[in-house]
C-alpha cells in the first residue's frame, strides 16, 4: 500500500548527459516496492508532485534508486537537492510488472531513454526467478547512454541510438528481428516507441508501462486516463497502471 514517506538522499551521481542516479533511503518503500511502481515526489516550489519510477531497491540498506533526466523545472529542482536532505514521496505507487513467465523462459526487455529505469529493477527480479533476459535499450545518442554494463550483467543487451553514435543505429524496433525467440516482453519508453512495438509484437504477450501528466497520483482526479479495451471504459495510469498488458489499453 502507498504511503506518504520522507526519503533521505544518500547518493547522487551523473550517469549520462542530463541524467542522474539518486539513492533514497526509506524503509517502508524499499521493503514494499515491486518493479514497475513509482514514487510521486513533492518538490519545493511545485504544485504538483512528479512521478519517477523505481529503478532498483536494496532491501538490506533500505534504499531505493531512481534515475531521472532533467527536462524541466521539477527535475531541475530534484537534481539540486543535496545529499542528506529529505524528499517527500508518495509510494510505492501504482501496480508493477507481473513477474509471471516460467523459470528458464526468455523475456525481452525493450526500453527507450528515460523509460529504461523501471526495467532495470524488473530485469533484476526476473533474473532472480531464473528467467532469461534479453535487453534492447534505445537512446537518442551516445551521450545519453546509461546502465549498459548493468544490463549486460543480466543477459544479452543491445544498445541502439537514433543517430548511430553508439551501438546500432535507428530505433529499438529495427533490431527486434535479431533477438531470436522470446516468450514475452516488457517495455517502457516514449509513446511512439510503445505503439511501434505493440504493433510489431502483437502476437506475443507483453506489458508496457505508460506515462501521463498526473494530478493526484492516487487515482482520485481522473487526470491520467487511457482508453481501456475491450471494455470501452478508461484506466487510470497512476492507479490501475502504470503497467498494463498490451491488450488492456488503447494507445492513441
Amino acid at each position: 500500500m502507498m504511503r506518504k514517506e520522507n526519503m533521505i538522499i544518500k547518493h547522487t551521481r551523473i550517469i549520462a548527459l542530463d541524467t542522474i542516479e539518486m539513492v533514497l533511503e526509506n524503509e517502508y518503500i524499499s521493503q514494499n516496492a515491486v518493479p514497475g511502481q513509482f514514487l510521486h515526489l513533492l518538490l519545493t516550489g511545485h504544485m504538483l508532485r512528479r512521478p519517477i519510477s523505481i529503478a532498483q531497491v536494496n532491501k538490506q540498506e533500505n534504499t531505493v534508486t531512481i534515475l531521472f533526466k532533467v527536462v524541466g523545472e521539477g527535475t531541475r529542482t530534484l537534481a539540486s537537492n543535496s545529499i542528506g536532505s529529505t524528499i517527500n514521496a508518495l509510494g510505492p505507487s501504482g501496480n508493477g510488472f507481473p513477474l509471471e513467465p516460467n523459470a528458464h523462459s526468455t523475456a525481452l526487455i525493450i526500453g527507450g531513454g528515460i523509460g529504461i529505469p523501471p526495467l532495470y529493477y524488473l530485469a533484476n527480479e526476473l533474473t532472480k526467478k531464473k528467467i532469461n533476459i534479453v535487453s534492447v535499450l534505445g537512446f537518442q545518442s551516445k551521450d545519453y547512454v546509461f546502465y549498459e554494463n548493468k544490463f549486460k550483467q543480466l543477459g544479452r543487451s543491445i544498445i541502439v541510438t537514433n543517430d548511430g553514435s553508439y551501438g546500432e543505429k535507428g530505433f529499438v524496433t529495427n533490431v527486434l528481428d535479431q533477438i531470436g525467440a522470446f516468450d514475452c516482453f516488457y517495455s517502457c519508453g516514449p509513446l511512439p516507441m510503445l505503439k511501434a512495438i505493440t504493433t510489431q509484437l502483437k502476437d506475443i504477450p507483453g506489458y508496457i508501462s505508460l506515462e501521463e501528466r498526473m494530478g493526484c497520483g492516487v487515482g482520485a482526479c481522473f487526470a491520467c486516463v487511457i482508453p481501456a479495451v475491450p471494455s470501452g471504459g478508461y484506466k487510470k495510469i497512476c492507479h490501475d497502471g502504470p503497467v498494463f498488458h498490451t491488450k488492456e489499453v488503447q494507445l492513441s
Binding site: G215, V218, G219, C221, F222
Partner: protein
C-alpha cells in the same frame, strides 16, 4: 473548541470537506485516513450518462496552481448510486452530490436520481463547468440561466441545493442573488478560473482541451474577494473554496463569509491536507481569538 457548523441539510462536525473532483468518490483517500474525520464529502460531478471527458493531457502545473480539463468524466449517476454511494455510506460523514449536465433536462434527471438516495445529504449544483451550456449560453455566467437551472433542480429534489458559482463573471453578486431568488439553499464558491498554458516544445496549448480551470493558491485572492462581496448581499450560507492549503487559509475564508470550506488541489500535494487542517484549526482559531468556528464566520465584514 467547537468546530461544528449547521448548514441546510448538513450537520458538520467540522467545516472541512474535500472539493468535488479532487477526491474521486473517496476510496483512494480512505487508504490514507478514516473518512469519518471529514466534515462532509463532496463527490465528483455526476451526469446522467457515463462520460469519458476530454483527451489527455488533462492537467498542467502553473505558478502556485494548476490547470485541469478533466471534462466531467464520471460513470453516470446510476452507477455512482450503485457503486460509490454505498461505499461512502459506511462513514458517518454527510455526502454531497455534485451534479452536472448539458441541458436542463439532464440536471433534472440527475437531481431526481439522487433525491431517492437517503445517504445523500445535499446537492452541489455545478453550473460553472465551461462545457455546461444550453443553447450556447453558459449556465454559470448568465444570471437568468443560473436561476432557471436552480429552479429546475429545486423542483426535482427535496435535498438542499448549494449552487456552485463560477468566478469567470463580471458581477458575482448578481449571480448569487439570481440563484438565491430561484430557491438555492446555499452557495459554493468558487469554481476554477479559466486559463491556458502553451507548451513551448510543441508550440500548442498543453491541455488537449486547450483551456482548463485554474485552481490552487493562485486563485485564493479571487475567491476571498468574491465571497466577501457576496456575503454582504445575500443571506445564503457559503461553502468557500479556492486555494486552501492550511488552517490559516480556512480562517481567512471564514472571516470573508464562508460557513464551511472545501479543499481541492491541496489534496494532490498532500493526501492528508484535509485532516491536517482539521487538526490545526482549533489552535488557529484560538490564536486569533475565536472560541468556535461559528464565531469567525463573516467577522471580516465590518
Amino acid at each position: 473548541m467547537s468546530l461544528a457548523v449547521e448548514l441546510p441539510g448538513l450537520s458538520l462536525k467540522n467545516p472541512i470537506m474535500p472539493a468535488s473532483g479532487c477526491f474521486g468518490f473517496g476510496r483512494e483517500y480512505s487508504e490514507f485516513y478514516d473518512l469519518n474525520r471529514l466534515g462532509a464529502i463532496i463527490m465528483k460531478a455526476a451526469t446522467k450518462q457515463a462520460r469519458f471527458g476530454n483527451q489527455t493531457p488533462r492537467v498542467a502545473e502553473t505558478a502556485a496552481g494548476m490547470l485541469n480539463a478533466i471534462g466531467l468524466q464520471n460513470p453516470g449517476v446510476d452507477k455512482i448510486i450503485e457503486n460509490e454511494v454505498p461505499f461512502l455510506a459506511n462513514y458517518a460523514t454527510p455526502i454531497i452530490a455534485n451534479i452536472a449536465g448539458s441541458t436542463l433536462e439532464e440536471y433534472k434527471e440527475v437531481a431526481s436520481a439522487f433525491n431517492a438516495v437517503k445517504e445523500v445529504a445535499a446537492l452541489e449544483l455545478n453550473i460553472s463547468c465551461p462545457n455546461v451550456k444550453e443553447g450556447g449560453i453558459q449556465f454559470g455566467t448568465d444570471p437568468e440561466m443560473a436561476a432557471k437551472v436552480t429552479s429546475v433542480v429545486k423542483e426535482s429534489s427535496n435535498l438542499p441545493v448549494y449552487v456552485k458559482l463560477s468566478p469567470n463573471v463580471v458581477d458575482i453578486v448578481a449571480m448569487a442573488k439570481a440563484v438565491e431568488q430561484a430557491g438555492a439553499d446555499g452557495l459554493s464558491m468558487i469554481n476554477t478560473v479559466t486559463g491556458m498554458q502553451i507548451h513551448l516544445p510543441s508550440k500548442q496549448p498543453l491541455l488537449a482541451n486547450q483551456t482548463g480551470g485554474l485552481s490552487g493558491p493562485a486563485i485564493k485572492p479571487i475567491a476571498i474577494r468574491m465571497i466577501y462581496e457576496v456575503k454582504q448581499c445575500v443571506s445564503l450560507p457559503i461553502i468557500g473554496m479556492g486555494g486552501i492549503t492550511t488552517a490559516i487559509d480556512v480562517l481567512e475564508f471564514l472571516l470573508a463569509g464562508a460557513s464551511a470550506v472545501a479543499v481541492g488541489t491541496a489534496n494532490f500535494q498532500n493526501p492528508f491536507a484535509c485532516t491536517e487542517i482539521i487538526e490545526e484549526l482549533p489552535n488557529t482559531l484560538q490564536t486569533y481569538g475565536f472560541a468556535s468556528v461559528k464565531d469567525a464566520i463573516g467577522e471580516g465584514i465590518k
